[in-house]
């Protein structure tokens, strides 16, 4: 039993400290997105993101504002990105694989009032790489 507990503890420590894919989010091209507030509202920058069909990407979202923000697109017909909260000053990573066909999805902060204040970006899947 002690051996089993030791093995579990070692496994957990190895997973946490080795940067194993079980504990981190990565893969594909990294796309940096900045979130925050300004005098005329709230924002995600860039306001439009384009990716190729079937591409695997990792969004790196940096909250440079002074309050919590979310990054999500999970309702019916959207991109299927589960919500994640980004505390002020923190960075979060979200991996996503684009569908094989052209599409446009809204990605937004769903905290009360934030999306209405402008916190939304368009995630476009564009087949022709020249247009991207």
């Amino acid at each position: 039993m002690r051996l089993l507990a030791l093995a579990c503890a070692l496994l957990a420590a190895a997973l946490i400290f080795s940067g194993c894919s079980l504990t981190e989010v990565s893969g594909g091209e990294e796309i940096t997105i900045v979130a925050g507030e300004r005098s005329d509202g709230m924002f995600f920058e860039p306001a439009e993101i384009t990716v190729a069909p079937g591409a695997k990407v990792t969004f790196v979202i940096k909250n440079e504002g002074s309050q919590d923000h979310e990054f999500e697109s999970y309702r019916d017909g959207e991109a299927g990105i589960d919500e994640i909260i980004i505390p002020p000053g923190a960075t979060r990573r979200v991996s996503w694989t684009a569908p094989s066909e052209a599409a446009t999805f809204p990605v937004y902060c769903d905290l009360p009032g934030h999306r209405a204040a402008g916190m939304e970006t368009a995630l476009k899947v564009v087949p022709d790489t020249e247009e991207r």
């Binding site: 400290f17 504990t23 981190e24 309702r75 505390p87 979060r92 009360p112």
Partner: protein
């Protein structure tokens, strides 16, 4: 998936043991003719439970955005309440459930009322079924429908197999250990649900302030990584939890596990000593609800 499995395994076994207790009593008292009534009643109770579960999922589907988060958050808190009642209050009350069931059955048969007899397993199983429906709905909010379906189905199959094994006398398990272990697991699951429910209500704007973030462990274990998602579902792991959530989580765990550990334990009589009748020997009393 794992939470759905634990829920249906435990609740399914509890419901199964109730049926087994009733059938064993009828068998030992020479009342086999009432088997049909009991089994039909059990099937109807399961069907009603499934209908209620489907209705909950259907109603949830009508909501979108913040109202959906508010509904799901409320459902999770209701599930936490139901579960807490189950593992704490019922732990104290269920010691005499076998005797109570047998007394009720004897009275129903005594007055010759098939309806009264049918009502006994129906209400007992319906209670288990409704608990399962609420708790399963709440648990599936943090996992995919496929994972939940696989987990719940496996748990139910396991419960049916265990019940049949116990009733037929071919398989014996230490029910006290089984219900204690699954009871602790359910308390841990409920604490996770409490956190996820409060988080949903906070995001819906129902709970306005949970305080600042207590810490940020995202770089060590991202809550949207594979392991992070698993721990989030099971334990309510959050890499940057609000202080209010941490306090709620720790307080709930301390109270629920404290009651669970120090509450009066039911007396599970050894199966062989419970009765001289062969049918009753295989069915010890269930614990919990």
């Amino acid at each position: 998936m794992s939470s759905s499995f634990i829920i249906t395994l435990r609740e399914g076994l509890e419901a199964g043991l109730i049926v087994a207790i009733i059938l064993a009593y009828l068998k030992s008292s020479g009342q086999r003719s009432h088997f049909r009534t009991v089994l039909i009643s059990a099937v109807v109770a399961v069907a009603v439970s499934l209908s209620v579960g489907a209705a909950i999922f259907a109603i949830a589907g009508e909501f979108a955005g913040r109202s959906a988060e508010a509904f799901e958050g409320a459902a999770m808190l209701i599930a936490v309440g139901v579960l807490s009642w189950m593992v704490v209050w019922m732990k104290r009350q269920s010691a005499g459930i076998k005797k109570t069931l047998e007394t009720d059955i004897a009275q129903a048969i005594g007055v010759g009322s098939a309806f009264a007899l049918a009502l006994i397993p129906f209400t007992a199983i319906l209670r288990e079924g409704l608990e399962t429906a609420v708790f399963l709905f709440a648990a599936t909010r943090t996992s995919t429908p496929l994972e939940s379906t696989i987990g719940a189905s496996a748990g139910l199959l396991g419960a049916v197999a265990l019940t049949w094994g116990i009733y037929s006398g071919g398989y014996r398990i230490n029910l006290r250990v089984f219900f204690n272990v699954t009871g602790v697991l359910l308390v841990v699951l409920a604490a996770g649900l409490l956190v996820n429910g409060l988080k949903d209500l906070h995001e819906a704007g129902v709970v306005s302030n949970l305080g600042p973030h207590a810490w940020d462990s995202y770089d060590a274990l991202a809550d949207n990584s594979q392991l992070g998602k698993f721990l989030s579902t099971i334990l309510g792991y959050d890499s940057s939890p609000y202080i209010g959530l941490v306090i709620a989580h720790v307080t709930y765990l301390a109270l629920a596990l404290g009651f669970f550990a120090f509450g009066r334990a039911p007396s599970l009589r050894p199966a062989a000593a419970a009765s001289h009748q062969p049918g009753a020997e295989a069915v010890p009393e269930p614990e919990g609800s």
